[in-house]
Symmetry: C2
Subunit: 315 residues, 2 copies
């Protein structure tokens, strides 16, 4: 297969690159920790070229990028598109740079310019572009992560969104608060642990009480010698239950939820929704971002053989 | 004035010692960072004797201690008293040790042995003992801090309590989360900053949404260049408003609130309650702990001249 372009998901602390053929199939892939923070020191061009060279990419191969490389502290600022915004406009407003003889496009993030509820995203908009296409043009997207995003999409437009700091709070509380004594060395949560779903339910029912419920994890260890795996699962469940409760207040009950996630996070959120009796449509986040990137590439660099009917992604 | 005893408030990361006359007045005072964590390494007796020596305390002067020195990782475990518990029982169940020829008493903490709502405190029970005496035997105590405690006291008994991780969450979020970019170098919050009371009101009205409101501080900086003093005040207000909302759900609206606090925290909570139209009785936390300690001392080491009518403390 001929390599058609390279695609990059450049996060704050992670870097992923794929070489793609013109039907969007993956020829090669690499990952590293050279996210924006790192690349801002060592140079974005250096990081990109080193990976392309290791993958033996051809000279002049074009590159489409999403994520933090487009932030003000990134490679080149790709200014936020303001919601409500057509997802396809993400491609229209990409910035173009020339670097090492390549045509490079950086997709912008989305901003909600509401003084009462300002919000921003970078990277997730490309997942949305990949996830909402073909017949799927409307729904409520739940995109778990360090900063979980919930996005309302209607007729191919992102109309509003909200960020919950679930993943970041989890990491800080589990590793650095007094609760670290209770969660110990545990580093992953089994979605089947009954403490997980119980905590999801408690936080969903009483989101106001999450601050109290958190400390009870420490007290439960001191008074009842509760084990660290259960405490870890409980902490995870409380924060995910809180997020889902808050999002349901924010976005209401009407919309179909599209859970866009991969790996362990997918398993946890899927189990959380199921335990709350909420059905979700599952979409794989890795596939979604790849499809968003290739959608951009097809528009930047049209070919006769590319396939706008790439099809809908599945989990 | 003759020195009657020494009194120590031994926290996790702080140490305070007073020399007291038998009417409870302060003859000398020292503070250091030799809290439990530090003293567990260098030796509790060493730390105590060094301070007593620096204050020229007499040989054999007795010492009453509250706080983390009585925890399992402390000097000697003073096992939790289970609520409901008479505050005076804190004195009855103190543990006694002999060290360097001194009579040393360590007051126990309180535990709520409810599997649905386990909770613990060490140190605050001594403030309660000092604050609830004489005519004041009933009320709802709000004791802000790293781990804020709200305690229902009825007829001189602590009947139930709840811990909110407000102060610890504030520190982690302000210094280590993505919001650190928004709050910058700011290190104290002016209770008069309108962003503070506005955020208190928002979180009080919508405690479920605190997770969302937190990230909006970061977005507000990116999209509207909001300043760091306002962002810091906003973060502080959101977390305090959340705590008050959660406590009002937990404890209801009926009781008189006794705010037991000192210094900056006192100013913030007092302003928060006032902005919500809630009246509180203000009590100084430093005075409260001292009065709790001398109350214990009088019982351990009775004198003819000590004064059970020391009077009620004021803010």
């Amino acid at each position: 297969m001929d390599t058609y372009c390279a695609a990059v998901d450049w996060g704050t602390s992670s870097f992923r690159i794929w070489l793609l053929s013109d039907d969007g199939s993956v020829i090669a892939e690499r990952r590293s920790h050279e996210g924006m923070t790192q690349a801002a020191k060592t140079g974005f061009e250096n990081v990109l070229e080193a990976h392309l060279s290791a993958m033996q990419a051809s000279q002049g191969l074009p590159v489409v990028i999403c994520g933090m490389a487009g932030s003000r502290q990134g490679w080149r600022e790709a200014r936020y598109l303001t919601v409500p915004a057509k997802l396809s406009d993400i491609v229209e407003t990409a910035v173009r740079i020339e670097s090492a003889g390549r045509d490079i496009r950086i997709l912008p993030g989305l901003a909600q310019r509401d003084p009462q509820h300002p919000d921003v995203m970078r990277g997730e908009e490309t997942q949305l572009l990949g996830a909402f296409s073909g017949d799927r043009t409307t729904g409520l997207a739940c995109m778990p992560g360090t900063h979980s995003k919930w996005v309302r999409v209607s007729g191919g437009k992102a109309t509003g969104f909200t960020t919950y700091m679930t993943g970041e709070l989890f990491g800080l509380i589990a590793r650095q608060s007094i609760l670290r004594h209770a969660v110990g060395e545990t580093d992953s949560c089994d979605p089947k642990n009954p403490e997980f779903t119980r905590a999801v339910a408690e936080a969903y029912r009483d989101p106001t009480g999450v601050s109290r419920l958190l400390f009870s994890i420490r007290a439960g260890q001191l008074l009842y010698s509760r084990n660290s795996a259960g405490s870890f699962a409980r902490l995870s469940g409380l924060l995910i239950g809180w997020e889902i409760a808050a999002a349901r207040v924010e976005f209401g009950e009407g919309d179909e939820i599209h859970l866009i996630a991969s790996g362990k996070l997918f398993g946890l959120y899927e189990a959380a929704f199921r335990s709350l009796g909420q059905t979700v449509t599952a979409l794989d986040a890795d596939e979604a971002v790849l499809k968003g990137l290739i959608t951009g590439a097809w528009q930047f660099w049209p070919t006769t053989s590319n396939q706008p009917d790439y099809g809908q992604i599945k989990a």
